[in-house]
């Protein structure tokens, strides 16, 4: 019982070094001369955005123990907020549109969270999914909200005040990297704050936590709202980058992918969410590019391979890639 709930929170030094190396590598990437650099920049930017999204879910799933199957709703809402706020003829400023769009997601999470955080376990999963589906169909079925086709974001937000040109792919890349690092640092700090410790206590033993005097509702609602807001930050960046939003962004698949990313990387330490998002996207691209054998288009059935891959990882590394890394480090340390 305890082993299953024990999670990797404090990252071993070699893992921290590896993360730092990853960040440095990302920062250096645009400087490397190569063909189709823009394509890779765009792909890495998307991975970083999804990493922010996965981290926001990890706050609920890995830290608080609340598995939300509707987290994409808050991702998509901020994207739509950007699309609706942007007029047809001129860009809007980043400095107010990003916080405002994230706040829209946060507000939705606050309202929905008010109802859903009262439930536990499987009921929480079902209710979060139900609300997300409601949001999905609200947009899917309403022509005024873009309908099933979605809508265009007419201009990328204007960040010249910050000396950044978001139309420049390298600029967008660096801006996203900065947000990723900022959100990671913030969540790591939060994990070891009094608030974060209570959230971890809720995951491990909510009943006991209440018995020593915590009203868990307020903590869970605050976590849900914060997670929704951060998902909104990611959704805003996604919409700004792709210039396009559609209901798929808020859909079931998007929510499920985020859960898989967090599980793949390892829950409860945010680094795992980043690793998971990159690994998931990378593996997905590999599977999508699989060759056609005879009449059988193996690449078209990437979801099948992805499913098998996730199952294999869960069996081999139940605590995800970061958990596996820790295990290997311990084994190596024990041998010395």
């Amino acid at each position: 019982m305890s082993a299953a709930k024990a999670q990797l929170e404090k990252l071993p030094r070699p893992m921290q070094a590896l993360l730092l190396a990853g960040a440095v590598g990302l920062a250096a990437f645009p400087l490397i001369p190569m063909d189709s650099r823009d394509f890779y920049l765009q792909m890495l930017t998307q991975m970083m955005i999804l990493a922010i999204f996965a981290m926001s879910l990890d706050l609920l799933q890995g830290v608080t123990g609340l598995v939300s199957l509707g987290h994409a709703a808050y991702f998509g809402l901020a994207g739509y907020a950007l699309a609706f706020m942007t007029p047809a003829d001129t860009p809007i400023a980043l400095w107010w549109s990003l916080p405002l769009a994230a706040a829209c997601s946060g507000l939705a999470a606050l309202v929905i969270g008010f109802f859903v955080v009262r439930t536990h376990g499987i009921y929480f999963i079902m209710v979060t999914m139900a609300f997300a589906q409601m949001v999905f169909f609200l947009f899917f079925d309403n022509k005024a909200l873009g309908g099933s086709d979605g809508i265009y974001v007419n201009f990328r937000p204007d960040a010249t005040a910050l000396g950044i040109d978001l139309d420049n792919k390298a600029h967008f890349f660096y801006f996203t990297l900065a947000v990723l690092i900022g959100v990671y640092a913030f969540l790591r700090r939060l994990l070891f704050s009094p608030f974060g410790r209570v959230l971890a206590g809720i995951r491990v033993n909510e009943h006991r936590l209440r018995a020593v005097g915590y009203g868990s509702f307020g903590y869970k609602l605050a976590a849900f709202t914060l997670a929704g807001t951060l998902a909104g930050v990611a959704g805003f960046l996604w919409a700004a980058q792709t210039g396009f939003v559609n209901p798929e962004l808020m859909g079931f698949h998007m929510s499920a992918h985020a859960i898989m990313m967090v599980i793949l990387g390892g829950m409860g330490n945010f680094a795992g969410a980043i690793v998971g998002a990159f690994a998931f996207e990378y593996v997905m691209h590999v599977f999508k590019d699989l060759p056609t054998i005879g009449d059988f288009q193996t690449g078209k059935h990437w979801q099948l391979w992805m499913g098998l891959f996730i199952v294999a990882v869960v069996i081999v590394a139940p605590r995800g890639l970061t958990g596996l890394g820790e295990k290997l480090l311990n084994r190596k340390g024990a041998r010395k």
Binding site: M1, S2, A3, K5, A6, Q7, F186, R189, L190, F192, S193, P194, F195, G196, R197, V198, A200, G201, V204, N205, H207, R208, L209, R210, A211, V212, G213, Y214, G215, S216, G218, Y219, L221, A222, A223, L226
Partner: protein, 259 residues
């Protein structure tokens, strides 16, 4: 039922508590008064309703009828967490701790519950939990009182059963309660561990109003100032240990087996 001390105020007063589960009255018309520096033991065979009584007092279960007041505040409609904040601390019959956390973190989390609760304050998100001085002091004191200082950095799942029982008490103490409800703190303990626990409870008695649910008769008679015997949800005798021991009904129903 309980003796009333007119010159003292009961820190916890339960009046005619009844809890029905369908047709079964698990607790039937039970009144309890707890005073500082008095240990009130509740004994009775399995299924007598002792744990249910504890759950009614702590707010884990709502009573079907009857009232509980803690420090003069009636607890009807209060959640377990707000009853805890009224000054009630309880331990559980089945060990109920944060198994993956260290002993220190278990107790620290309990101690932190007496700080201001501000889940919506962003400053609260960025503060370091490890540097809350008052919380750390309370944690240290509670761990020391419970005799776990040498195990503070051990993961709770890895310590012995007896130590886990001590940890239960330490967590309860870290909330600085005025009323302590202890549900079989000696259950499953070895002789030496049990003796240490009895010593600890004697020490705690001075500053707390305590109710002890316990099967260990040696401990009960060593500690109790007041004894209530429950059978089938009802109180069949209540008074000083000497009075209760002499009660023929009690001898027949309960002590008879052992004496």
């Amino acid at each position: 039922m309980s003796d009333v001390r007119p010159n003292e105020v009961a820190l916890l007063a339960a009046h005619k508590l009844t809890k029905r589960f369908g047709g079964l009255a698990a607790v039937n018309d039970v009144s309890v008064h707890l005073y500082r520096d008095r240990l009130h033991a509740v004994i009775g065979p399995n299924g007598a309703g002792k744990s249910t009584l504890t759950n009614l007092l702590s707010g884990d279960l709502p009573p079907t009828s009857g009232t509980v007041t803690i420090g003069g505040v009636e607890t009807a409609g209060h959640s377990p967490e707000s009853i805890s904040r009224l000054g009630l601390g309880r331990s559980y019959q089945k060990t109920n701790i944060f198994l993956p956390f260290t002993v220190w973190e278990n107790v620290r989390l309990a101690a932190q519950s007496r700080e201001r609760h501000a889940p919506w304050n962003p400053l609260h998100w960025l503060q370091s939990a490890a540097t809350q001085t008052a919380v750390n002091q309370r944690t240290e004191r509670a761990i020391e009182l419970a005799g776990l200082t040498h195990r503070a950095q051990a993961v709770a799942a890895t310590i012995s059963h007896g130590e886990q029982r001590q940890l239960e008490i330490a967590m309860t103490l870290a909330t600085e309660p005025t009323v302590l409800l202890l549900d079989e703190p000696l259950a499953g303990m070895g002789q030496a561990e049990a003796e240490r626990m009895v010593e600890l409870l004697l020490k705690l008695k001075k500053d707390h109003a305590m109710m002890l649910v316990e099967h260990d008769m040696d401990a009960v008679f060593a500690l109790a100032d007041q004894l209530t015997v429950m059978v089938n949800g009802q109180v069949i005798a209540s008074g000083t240990p000497a009075d209760v021991r002499a009660d023929p009904q009690v001898q027949a129903a309960y002590l008879g087996d052992e004496h």
